[in-house]
């Protein structure tokens, strides 16, 4: 589903005397349908950077990133146009970050339903269906019903994180990237999120994630990879 071939990432800080930060080098990996690849390694190793490259949130300095899209076409992210990337994210790839980027005035229910509403724009019954699905997700993730009509800006960190998970999983996309999705959750909700990830994998999604909690990582992983091997310094020393 996703292939990274000799990908490197270097940040050039033009206003810090052109300082260059070599974060990742020679990242080569394949992510297949129906597996959950967990990225291991201490913080600062570039795990989040690797996910962001796969989502085209960061642009790779060199190498190729190929995605098999929902429409069966292959897209190479480093050369894709914004339009192709938007389409790829909409149909093919979900990405759950630790933090919800809140939208002023939009209710929690509609924040969650939005990926489904985007497709149908003005068909009222389809919008109702999307909201119904959103209610199911909010219930499952234990968001109290009294909060559904409110914008999530004032919610707690854990509540916002669950809204973010629901928003990104309500539409079952073939590829799912997870950056510490359980970081601020209690035990019960962490268990629910583990179940949700396992369900995604068993329906055939290709999942790649970072989990600070090794028990969560162990529970969901079908395969591990140590990101330290892609460190520039490690390469130099070798």
């Amino acid at each position: 589903m996703l292939q990274m071939k000799q990908v490197s990432k270097r940040f050039t800080l033009h206003h810090q005397h052109g300082t260059e930060l070599n974060v990742l080098q020679n990242v080569t990996l394949t992510l297949s349908a129906g597996e959950c690849l967990v990225l291991d390694g201490p913080s600062g190793m570039g795990k989040s950077t690797l996910l962001k490259l796969a989502y085209a949130n960061y642009s790779a300095t060199s190498g190729l990133i190929e995605v098999s899209q929902a429409n069966n076409q292959l897209l190479e992210l480093t050369r894709a146009t914004p339009r192709e990337l938007i389409q790829m994210r909409r149909e093919t790839m979900g990405y759950v970050s630790q933090f919800l980027r809140v939208i002023p005035r939009v209710s929690a229910l509609d924040v969650v339903a939005e990926p489904l509403i985007e497709e149908v724009t003005d068909q009222l019954h389809a919008i109702d269906d999307a909201r119904e699905k959103a209610r199911t997700w909010l219930t499952r993730l234990r968001i109290p019903e009294r909060l559904w009509g409110l914008p999530p800006a004032t919610f707690s960190g854990g509540e916002q994180q669950r809204i973010n998970i629901a928003r990104n999983l309500i539409k079952p996309r073939p590829i799912l990237l997870l950056d510490e999705p359980t970081a601020s959750l209690d035990a019960a909700n962490t268990k629910t999120v583990i179940d949700i990830i396992q369900e995604a994998v068993s329906r055939g999604a290709a999942v790649m994630g970072i989990f600070h909690d090794t028990q969560v990582g162990q529970a969901v992983a079908t395969r591990h990879i140590d990101v330290a091997q892609f460190r520039f310094a490690a390469k130099d020393a070798a």
Binding site: A56, N57, L75, P82, I86, I103, P104, T121
Partner: protein, 262 residues
């Protein structure tokens, strides 16, 4: 690899140049805009972003280069070789233009209802009941109380005026809307409402939008993609989150690091 695309963009801008005397306002600007795409143009004052908007919206003739628009025959048509009548029709039906200062885009001495309906009347609609109904519908959509329909925008607050200007532009269901700093004259509390409205309407109506803004948070909220301008040049462009989270050009890095959490 099938990364090619046979369909045509809604707007194709090629090698635009515009100078005012010795000062180069736009230097070789090129881009395509696709149906339903929202693109932000950012940069500080004097970077050429408003000049670019005026040239692509057929408001200022460029010195060189082309602006083509996808007409109803499915062909790209140079907007500067059209007759003025054709240009005017386009700007009153398929295009919209939202000004920073609402007073520039409204008729301040006629009622809110008449402001909303002016485009339709220009197209020949004379049926009073239908016009009134359309005005009600649009005032409702932009959250203006219908009891204010017969008041002039002079009696409106800044935020209401801006929402009225938006309604006035969208009443003909345009395909392409140009916006020049649509929220920067408003108080922060009022901005959120206008931004949310713009976000909802652009998505529901599948509008293509070119929005000029100096506010990176506005770009983040509304735009799919963005272009960064400095001294009349497009120095960087791409997906909005990519440009903001991983800026490549020194000027973009400076812009992004100069604000609090865009």
């Amino acid at each position: 690899m099938s990364q090619s695309d046979q369909s045509l963009p809604l707007l194709r801008v090629q090698s635009l140049v515009k100078s005012y005397g010795d000062r180069v306002a736009i230097h070789e600007a090129s881009f395509d805009l696709w149906p339903g795409e929202v693109m932000a143009v950012v940069g500080e004052s004097g970077s050429g972003k408003s000049s670019l908007l005026n040239v692509i919206a057929a408001r200022t003739q460029p010195d060189a280069g082309q602006v083509e628009y996808l007409n109803h025959n499915g062909q790209l048509e140079n907007i500067y070789t059209m007759t003025q009548a054709q240009q005017r029709l386009l700007s009153r039906t398929e295009w919209g233009f939202v000004h920073q200062n609402a007073a520039d885009g409204l008729r301040m001495d006629v009622s809110a209802g008449a402001n909303v309906c002016e485009r339709l009347m220009g197209l020949g609609e004379r049926h009073y009941g239908r016009l009134r109904q359309t005005a009600e519908h649009w005032l409702h959509r932009v959250e203006i109380d219908i009891s204010r329909m017969d008041d002039t925008p002079r009696t409106f607050s800044g935020g209401m005026r801006q929402r009225l200007q938006i309604a006035r532009n969208l009443v003909t269901q345009p395909r392409l809307v140009f916006m020049d700093e649509p929220t920067s004259g408003l108080d922060v509390s009022v901005q959120a409402r206008v931004l949310d409205l713009l976000r909802q309407l652009t998505r529901k109506m599948q509008l293509a939008v070119v929005i000029v803004t100096h506010d990176l948070a506005v770009a983040r909220l509304l735009a799919d993609r963005m272009m960064v301008m400095q001294h009349g040049r497009i120095v960087e462009s791409g997906l909005t989150d990519q440009v903001l989270d991983d800026p490549q050009h020194p000027y973009t890095q400076l812009l992004v690091s100069s604000v609090l959490q865009p």
